[in-house]
């Protein structure tokens, strides 16, 4: 009797657990892994030259082309360069700001800064990108105020993306700084360490996972972006524009699929590199 009850309880608990876990797992497997699977598979198909319909016979032509074509290589290097620059700029801006917010500012100023950092997230991406287009135009506000504007191009793209993704860096770094106990900092200075030494040997290792988490956002968001560059990039094109062109303009889904394996690989490699540094172990 008692054993029976235990079994029914166990079963009903399992059912409840299944009820909780099935929707997210189904989403992950079907929508996420499933679509990645289709993507991977369709990279090995080709299209009918005339009607553009997908032909389902195996060919490795697309992969070979992606690996050998000079245009794709230049665009890939340019895109990775942009993503890394954006990440570096975001780190340089976010670390002092987050340090100030978490450890120096009064509660009231801290709240104001958190609001200031997150408010831009409420505005539409396009509005912000077009605002930068205005700002950087040849006779625009920046030129009027500073007498100089970089104009539309690579620099404008990096600046705009760095602006767009900055909150995604500030928030995790701020959270990481907040989690550093004040007692550790006090102990360090009580033992005679200079502020810079405390920052370097006590705070930096504790904050690094936060920076790493933020950099994953800024890097992967920049890798996949193709809209900001059409607004402020002048004649620059990124990998995303090429994928879009092959998918929508040329209607060549298999080649687009093969091309999108590039950012996918880049992001996976970046994640692995971050894991090696140990940054992902206690995020």
């Amino acid at each position: 009797m008692a054993a029976d009850q235990g079994v029914t309880q166990g079963v009903s608990r399992r059912i409840r657990l299944a009820f909780l876990l099935v929707p997210p797992l189904a989403w992950l497997v079907v929508a996420y892994l499933g679509s990645l699977g289709v993507l991977l598979l369709s990279a090995f198909w080709s299209t009918d030259e005339f009607t553009g319909a997908v032909v389902r016979t195996y060919t490795s032509d697309n992969i070979v082309r992606v690996l050998t074509d000079a245009v794709f290589r230049t665009a890939t290097l340019r895109t990775i360069g942009i993503a890394l620059s954006v990440t570096v700029i975001c780190i340089v801006l976010a670390v002092p700001l987050a340090l100030y917010m978490a450890k120096v500012a009064s509660p009231r100023v801290r709240l104001a800064l958190v609001v200031a950092v997150t408010t831009p997230l409420w505005a539409s991406y396009l509005v912000k990108a077009y605002a930068w287009r205005m700002l950087l135009s040849p006779e625009g506000p920046l030129h009027w105020a500073a007498g100089y504007t970089p104009g539309y191009g690579l620099i404008a793209t990096v600046l705009t993306l760095a602006y767009l993704w900055l909150p995604y860096m500030v928030i995790p770094v701020f959270a990481a700084f907040e989690r550093v106990p004040n007692a550790l900092i006090d102990a360090s200075s009580d033992l005679g360490a200079a502020d810079t030494t405390t920052l370097r040997t006590i705070v930096a290792p504790l904050v690094f996972p936060g920076i790493a988490a933020g950099s994953i956002f800024t890097f992967s968001l920049s890798m996949g972006d193709y809209i900001a560059v059409t607004i402020v990039g002048g004649k620059t094109q990124m990998l995303g524009n090429i994928i879009y062109g092959q998918l929508v303009t040329a209607n060549n889904q298999p080649l687009a699929a093969a091309l999108s394996l590039i950012p996918l690989t880049a992001i996976v490699l970046y994640l692995l590199a971050m894991r090696r540094t140990g940054a992902l172990e206690n995020v």
Partner: protein, 396 residues
Amino acid sequence: MRNTTRRVGAALAACAALVAACSSSTTSGGGSSTAPPKMEPLSALGNGEGQLNLVAWPGYAEDGSNDPKVDWVHPFEQKTGCKVNIKVGNTSDEMVQLMRSGQYDGVSASGDATLRLIYAGDVAPVNTKLVGNYDTISAFLKDKPWNSVDGQMYGIPHGWGANLLMYNTDVVKDAPDSWGAVFPGAANKGKVTAYDSPIYIADAALYLSKTKPELGIKDPYSLTEDQLNAAVDLLKEQHANIGEYWSDYTKAVQAFESGTSVIGTSWQVIANMLTSDNKVKIAAVLPKEGSTGWSDTWMVSSKAKNPNCMYKWMDWITSPEVNAQVAEYFGEAPAQTKACEFTSDKNFCATYHATDAAYAEKISYWTTPQKQCVDGSGNNCTAYSEWVDKWQQIKG
């Protein structure tokens, strides 16, 4: 360990099932052929079905939601009882994709989409006898390579326009009358603009057909490998002088007003907007080499559920009053010759050269380049997919 293997196996099986399920739904069109699939046009007009689903360029099917005064959809609904659902297409390529879904009755297709639709069997031939207003449509728009095959019309012409050479008259003082001003455009380095689409390669080819006759280019959409490469080389040279490319026409307006661009390819509607804003002084000309341009055609889907309503729509949109309204709102020449009597600006048709066959003759209308040359000169031409690759190489 065994447990993990089994789990991975199950996940893979799920993926495979998904792939199999998805792959059966993407086929469309059928195999390649040199003739479009055989289909019979509608033989007689019946009663409206009460519904109509359209794919249209922005500004072609206005129901007053953008501007309450601009509405020719509701009067149509009242007259015919066909309730209109509009899906706006932003590019020719998007329109082709939408029509492939088979969920729409008709589309306002530009010449760089029409042949793809015809040969894939996505649109049906049109019985022009069932469209009363077809008779008075400009003769130079009928039976053209981009809207007919072997004398069979596949749609009803809507309107057309030319890509113009536009420049800021304060900066460019020598009043250019040749595309040589933008090919390669070194005089205005960094301030040249161009249309951001593979179809722009035809502009370079058109220029080369006049300036380098030894290349033997007869039609800018029928290019052999060597001719395409020559056009691409010219565009790569131009790329060094480009400030930015445009595809959204409001971006082109803004680029000229801010001084980002001072010379480049443009549309009449852009020139009109700049003139009415009056922030910069511009001029727009049809250069002596002629120009590329667009000519749009309303086409009926081969899978149309409401063909009668679609025929009623084609007759409505090409009726003199409505065609005049659309053309004025969008800024292009109306296809309907009688529309010129109904424009609110009496000079409208003159400004757009609407009935000027000689002007229209100077325009090489957008057509989808194909392996089988669109001008019928052979089958050694370059296909549109190759143009896309080249365009990406030009942009580098």
